[in-house]
């Protein structure tokens, strides 16, 4: 698992839900502030990260303001 794989994962995840984010903007994308993902989607995201990368992200980590931008969340996941 590396940063590029995670960026690709989030880009696909968002695209499948109708959210287009340019490749260069993915790290700055603030998924909490944008509000494009509801509770169901956020939980789906957690479960998919776990099944695809074998890493557990807790809901409180996901909703932590310091992880609100995908770049920061990617760093948190990589640090696990």
């Amino acid at each position: 698992m590396n940063s590029a794989e995670l960026k690709s994962f989030f880009s696909d995840f968002l695209e499948q839900r109708g959210v287009e984010v340019a490749e260069g903007d993915i790290e700055q994308y603030n998924f909490v502030e944008e509000g494009a993902l509801d509770s169901f989607e956020l939980l789906s995201m957690i479960l998919q990260i776990e099944s695809q990368f074998g890493v557990k992200v807790t809901p409180s980590e996901l909703m932590d303001e310091s992880n609100a931008q995908l770049g920061a969340l990617i760093n948190t996941i990589l640090a696990k």
């Binding site: 509801d38 509770s39 169901f40 956020l42 939980l43 789906s44 957690i46 479960l47 557990k56 807790t58 809901p59 409180s60 996901l62 909703m63």
Partner: protein, 525 residues
């Protein structure tokens, strides 16, 4: 100082009576008082026995004309009005009337309980408003003094010391609609109750009561005790076990005497937000009479009589007390004395910490309305096995007999999630069942997840041999996924989990609900 009272006598006798108690307090401080009331032949007997001078005026005039009529009448009685105070208690007379009276030089004091605009010098509203919806600041001038809240409740001075003692048999129900009321509205219910040997009924009717012929028949048959226009209800409050009736002045009299009560609203000023009623220890209010199901009321009355010890304890624990000294307090204020309130009214929700944001406490009896209101919120009830609203009567009966262990979770200090669990046994196997619903605060998904994880950990710690079984509405995508996240698995048909779930939730079919379970060892998170 002279105090002149302008009271509407067609809006319920409570207005005249509360002014009487203020006048009594003022008189005991050496002030003289006189009443200007609407002509009302129904109240002639009351006027005759009234302990203050009464001047009767034409009723139903427009504000301007009423002000002219009042000034002219008051001047002919006492002369110059520049050193008098005029107390007005009349929904038909508002800011315009008050401004006209002020022009005569008088000080104007307005009594209100329906949150109107005023130009009076002092506005008094005894209602407790925890909802914050009844802020007067935009409705009065900057110079207006506001005396707001139950510390200013105007009651007969006997309420300073009176406490409900109940009857020996523990089955006396006191019914009252206040000074007036149309008794045909509750005829079916009174007839039904009167025929029950389980309760003894005392019915109080006021001087403006309508359609009371059937009450005389019930009295003749020996089925009820009928009391007509008593001077005061105090002795009846003291010896009844449960009050049932309209929520007018009775709200404060019942709170002062700590009398168990079940009430309904007949008029807009009798509608109250449930949190404010709860704070006064008044937990059982049915809302507007028009929407009440009499069978449910019967259920409520029996359930309350069956649980009087708990019901009385709930009253006694009320954080806001009515001490019966409101009239004296207002009289002192009007005479320029300091009335700094000493009462501290904080209801501490003592919670135990779960994490930095979440805390919890066990549900207590005083949460009865919080619990029902949360359960009946559409976003909660529409996903349950029983989707209809739980009525108050059935809720009271259930509340005092249920086996659930319920807790309230606070998120950042606000009650946010109600959770419950219960241990059940089928075929010598222990199972945990439970549920959760949100209050009027909508928590984000990480809060819900943390709360549920905490509940699972706690319950498995207390019941290590039990397995959780649950049903989840198939349309509730989020909760299905959440339970999957928490480790719940689908229960296959014919397994003991499936059969236990059917027994625990007989109203849930597998067409509409997913049957799931979680063993203690499977809880990884």
């Amino acid at each position: 100082m002279r105090y002149l009272f302008r009271v509407n006598t067609y809006q319920g006798i409570g207005h005249l009576m509360r002014c009487r108690w203020l006048a009594t307090a003022l008189q005991s401080q050496g002030q003289s008082c006189c009443f200007f009331v609407d002509k009302n032949t129904d109240l002639d007997a009351l006027f005759d026995s009234f302990p203050f001078d009464i001047v009767q005026l034409e009723a139903d005039l427009a504000e301007k004309q009423d002000a002219q009529q009042f000034i002219s009448s008051a001047q002919s009685k006492i002369g110059d009005l520049s050193s008098v105070s005029v107390v007005v208690d009349n929904y038909q007379l508002g800011a315009q009337w008050e401004a006209d009276i002020k022009k005569s030089g008088a000080r104007v004091i307005a009594l209100d309980d329906i949150h109107r605009t005023h130009s009076a010098d002092v506005v008094i509203d005894q209602r407790l408003d925890l909802s914050g919806e009844r802020n007067y600041s935009a409705l009065v001038t900057q110079e207006t003094s506001l005396l707001l809240g139950p510390d200013y409740t105007l009651l007969n001075p006997v309420y300073e010391r009176a406490v409900n003692k109940g009857s020996l048999a523990g089955n006396n129900v006191l019914i009252s609609l206040g000074g007036g009321g149309d008794w045909s509205q509750i005829e079916g219910l009174v007839q039904k109750l009167a025929e029950q040997r389980k309760v003894s009924l005392t019915v109080i009717v006021g001087p403006q009561a309508k359609n009371i012929h059937y009450l005389h028949q019930l009295q003749s048959s020996g089925l009820i005790e009928l009391v007509e226009s008593p001077e005061s209800l105090i002795e009846y409050y003291q010896r009844c076990d449960l009050f049932f009736g309209a929520l007018g002045t009775s709200l404060y009299e019942l709170a002062a005497t700590l009398t168990p009560a079940l009430t309904f609203a007949l008029a807009p000023n009798q509608e109250n937000d449930w949190r404010s009623l709860d704070a006064l220890g008044h937990f059982f209010h049915l809302g507007n009479l028009k929407h009440i199901d009499f069978d449910d009321v019967m259920q409520a009355i029996y359930a309350l009589l069956d649980n009087l010890v708990a019901v009385k304890a709930m009253r006694e624990a009320a954080p806001v007390r009515i001490d019966g000294q409101g009239a004296k307090r207002i009289a002192r204020f009007l005479n320029g004395e300091d009335i700094t309130l000493k009462t501290e009214r904080s209801q501490s929700d003592e919670c135990l910490r779960i994490n930095d944001h979440l805390s919890y406490r066990d549900v207590i009896d005083q949460d009865i309305n919080l619990y029902r209101n949360a359960r009946n919120r559409p976003n909660n009830s529409e996903k349950m096995t029983v989707t209809q609203d739980v009525k108050l009567g059935e809720h009271i009966k259930w509340w005092f007999n249920n086996q659930r262990h319920s807790q309230i979770l606070y998120y950042q200090g606000a009650p946010t999630i109600v959770m419950w669990h219960q241990l059940v046994r089928f075929d010598e196997q222990e199972y945990l069942i439970g549920g959760w619903f949100t209050t009027d605060v909508t928590p984000s998904f990480d809060v819900v997840t943390a709360a549920l994880e905490w509940q699972l950990q706690q319950t498995f710690k207390s019941h290590p041999n039990a397995a959780w079984i649950a049903v989840i509405n198939k349309e509730n995508k989020f909760v299905n996924l959440l339970n999957q996240y928490l480790g719940f698995q689908r229960s296959r048909e014919h397994t003991h989990y499936y059969l236990a779930t059917q027994r625990a939730f007989p109203k849930a079919t597998d067409n509409d609900f997913n049957f799931v379970h979680l063993e203690n060892t499977k809880m990884e998170r």
